[in-house]
Assembly symmetry: C2
């Protein structure tokens, strides 16, 4: 990997720590999380900076209140169930409706960084599901 692709220090916002077990069990590969706005505050709007190593992606999941992804670095993928995966680049914004089954993560050979904004938190937590099939991820270039 050339240096231009090395986002191992994240982009703009702090990289934070390796995902805690409660989240990492729902990921393939390593990701890091720095919460910027914590859950349970008066803002009702948890915001985190998520840094994925190359090849890292999360399992299929749903957010009861929806989620916004703001891509700040690298190259990655977002897929909704039943639709083609969308390639993501810095400056892309993904609006994930409530209860839509999806996954997101890095391209095979590229770091990937996005801010995650959880919306309508009063609707409840995320529901984590099965991993993306390896053969589906391996088709993505």
């Amino acid at each position: 990997m050339n240096r231009a692709n090395d986002l191992s220090n994240s982009v703009i916002f702090p990289k934070g720590e390796k995902l805690p077990e409660e989240f990492s069990k729902n990921f393939v590969g390593q990701a890091w999380l720095q919460m910027l706005v914590m859950p349970g505050t008066e803002y009702n709007c948890p915001i985190g900076n998520v840094t994925f190593e190359p090849g890292c992606r999360n399992n299929w999941h749903k957010h009861a209140g929806g989620q916004i992804l703001l891509v700040t670095g690298g190259r990655g993928w977002y897929q909704e169930e039943g639709k083609p995966a969308q390639e993501l680049h810095p400056g892309d914004v993904v609006k994930i409706p409530a209860n839509v089954k999806h996954w997101h993560g890095a391209a095979k050979d590229r770091w990937f960084v996005h801010l995650s904004v959880e919306t309508n938190v009063q609707a409840g937590p995320a529901e984590w599901l099965e991993p993306l099939a390896d053969e589906e991820y391996s088709k993505l270039i």
Copy 2:
């Protein structure tokens, strides 16, 4: 200004258009706005990318539901009424509680870019107040 300080194309997210009159009347100097998540959607979480030219700042104002600023570029200031102004740099996160009178904007000689996340939108719109006194802004280096 050297090229490293030239953020006239914004940072990562699109620069968008000059502020519409409804907002620009509450700013000193020129700013640009690209909405990334529109108001009035199911997300209840308007997000905008705001790019301030050097010296541009907004008037004192309050948000009925609070606001989060995520600083992506340049150098700027945030001040709450009755407190010293805080210098802002990329990676800084400002959590503005509901109904706290404040202003934000660029340093005199630097572009400044932040994402703005409006929280608890059901609480109502922002209340715009008087400009920051020029002699107060001119003290900030």
